[in-house]
Symmetry: C2
Subunit: 342 residues, 2 copies
DNA sequence: CATCGCCGTGTAATCGATTACAGCGAGGTT
DNA sequence: AACCTCGCTGTAATCGATTACACGGCGATG
């Protein structure tokens, strides 16, 4: 009764040798039961499984990693953890990874940070895979590590990319505005050179063309996805002799800044000007008027990236590029060309 | 020239034996140079350090963990990654941990989730410490693991807690409103039983008393920190015969919902009703009118928690409870009792 | 000049799992 | 009856670092 049999009660976690002793087998057999159960005789397997259950045995991750070179951890690199946009994506990633027994390590890193190199060294050792959300590859150290790019695609790389069709989505916004009768539609741009911006800007032009509207460079206003640039755009609009009747802001944050500034100047949205955004962040629905925008399936984006990575880790080859569906969410900030504007 | 000396170029990371061979010493010495340099003779130390640099040697974390039982990882448990409130806190934690060579693993977990038990097992093996943001302790499995509670304090535990003085902050909001001449100040509460709510509600009552105002239970409205409960509160206000002239909402999200609904009903904020919030989330400054609120030093909260944990890991004993300073941020949503209200 | 102590270093056990290889017994084949 | 195969299990090497212990050499001490 008082064998040296270890118990669940004991403070120290059970090791594989404890399980082996209790089940009367070797450690190799225990390991096999856990890894490839069908290679073990049913009776033995049952004995081992019972011992595992009795002791609450969980393999030591460090030992397992050392031997197998698998960490069961994934590194997620975000450019700005404070940006609301990422939180739901992270949740999608986390839930998917957790279900597959993988942990998520987050690095919050400006793409320009020198830590990108340092992180590469970390990645090679400490994780099985990487999900990049900041549009930049890690340093050369991380060459061999399975990687996925999410949202901000990275040109010229060989690993899978997951994103939305920014161009088509932008087209859809313009089509929506045009269908409301708007003929002068301005575009509030994102930071120059950014992949997302390039695509959305292209979609804007295509949208105009599809609606039979002329492209007017004077109606493209600079912005950088920040609130301040939205506010600045309002000044531009007010100063404009031939005001646009609608503005497509390439991010919700800018759209919200713009709307607020317009309201302060005494304009009515959408009575005087319609405004549409992009992203559908939480506050898009909460602001007044509620913002018409493009909903990105953020949680699904996260899930898809995690799944693609898991597939790669399992030896499969996910598609080089997969685009998820967006949705035009029409709320109160866009409406027919108003009487005053007409 | 073509010794078997390993080079930086080679794809495989250098091991300690490679360094030892290059420096002409044993692995024990290499390890010592890295861990306790002053126990090694200067000449030897220099040789080893050069070899380390030449090979770009970084100790294998798995091997190190296996032997030393230290993972250099910290688990952070958040109740809801989607909640804007946490992102900046996470950033504060991450930057502090990273500086100390620790990684951050995030678990996104509803406090009621059964995964809390499972996570405890994970915590015991995979991390050196835990930071809890969800007001719940992990399962019994995680007993020995150094832990810190952040923001939502946990009663009756022995580990250090970091938070703000919710009660004093709430008092300050009420004092601010009272100083503007308000005498009927309503309180929009948080979820019943929540630690934060209990404290803020107490602060509200104390604030009334300090201003010589009577406490009226009818002016305490139920809420749960969500937008919807803010909107619902607006209905209550409008239906009230003796309307309050100011409302203290115990979260910014509720305050924003309330303001929006009031505006839709044709009321002016702060002309007809002043509204103050709590937290100072990003959108508090962006909403119209910009919200008067209590700023929680979120980044500092994260930093402080990480530092306290690092201290514990280093064998020191951080204070059982430390409260960080908040700040009353007066913006446009509160003002003197308006002519209409008077 | 023998002895002691200390400093610096090396040897080897150890952390806990995975897995190649070998061994062994039962059943099938000729 | 001798031999082969196949299925199951055990032995032991291995992953890469840390560290207790031992040992050699040297200056200080009596």
């Amino acid at each position: 009764m008082d064998e040296s049999a270890p118990t669940t009660q004991s403070g120290v976690p059970a090791r594989i040798t404890d399980v082996a002793r209790l089940a009367g087998v070797s450690t190799a057999t225990v390991s096999r039961v856990l890894a490839k159960p069908d290679q073990v005789a049913p009776r033995t397997r049952a004995r081992v499984q019972e011992a595992v259950a009795r002791l609450g045995y969980v393999p030591n991750p460090a030992a397992r990693t050392l031997r197998s070179q698998k960490t069961r951890m994934v590194l997620v690199v975000v450019p700005d953890l404070e940006n609301v946009f990422f939180s739901r994506i992270l949740r999608g990633i986390e839930e998917t990874l957790a279900a597959a027994g993988h942990g998520m390590i987050i690095a919050d890193l400006d793409p320009a940070s020198p830590r990108m190199e340092e992180l590469a060294a970390f990645a090679r050792r400490q994780v099985d895979g990487v999900i990049l959300l900041n549009g930049r590859r890690l340093g050369t150290e991380a060459e061999g590590v399975p990687t996925i790019a999410l949202c901000e695609t990275i040109p010229g790389v060989s690993f899978p990319q997951i994103a939305v069709d920014n161009r088509a989505s932008a087209r859809r916004v313009v089509a929506h505005l045009a269908s409301l009768g708007h003929r002068r539609i301005a575009y509030l741009a994102g930071p120059e050179g950014n992949v997302l911006e390039v695509e959305r800007a292209a979609g804007y032009r295509e949208g105009l063309a599809a609606a039979g509207l002329a492209f007017d460079p004077a109606l493209v206003w600079p912005g950088d996805y920040t609130l301040a640039s939205g506010v600045a755009a309002a000044g531009r609009l007010l100063a404009d002799g031939a005001r646009p009747t609608a503005v497509f802001a390439s991010s919700d944050v800018m759209a919200i800044g713009l709307v607020g500034a317009l309201q302060e100047a005494g304009l009515d949205v959408p009575g005087d000007v319609s405004v549409a955004g992009f992203d559908d962040i939480e506050f898009a629905a909460m602001s007044r008027p509620a913002l018409t925008t493009i909903r990105q399936p953020r949680r699904d984006l996260g899930r898809a990236a995690a799944e693609a990575l898991l597939a790669r880790l399992a030896g499969r080859t996910p598609p080089a590029l997969s685009l998820l569906e967006t949705e035009l969410v029409v709320r109160a900030s866009t409406g027919p060309v108003g009487p005053r504007a007409r």
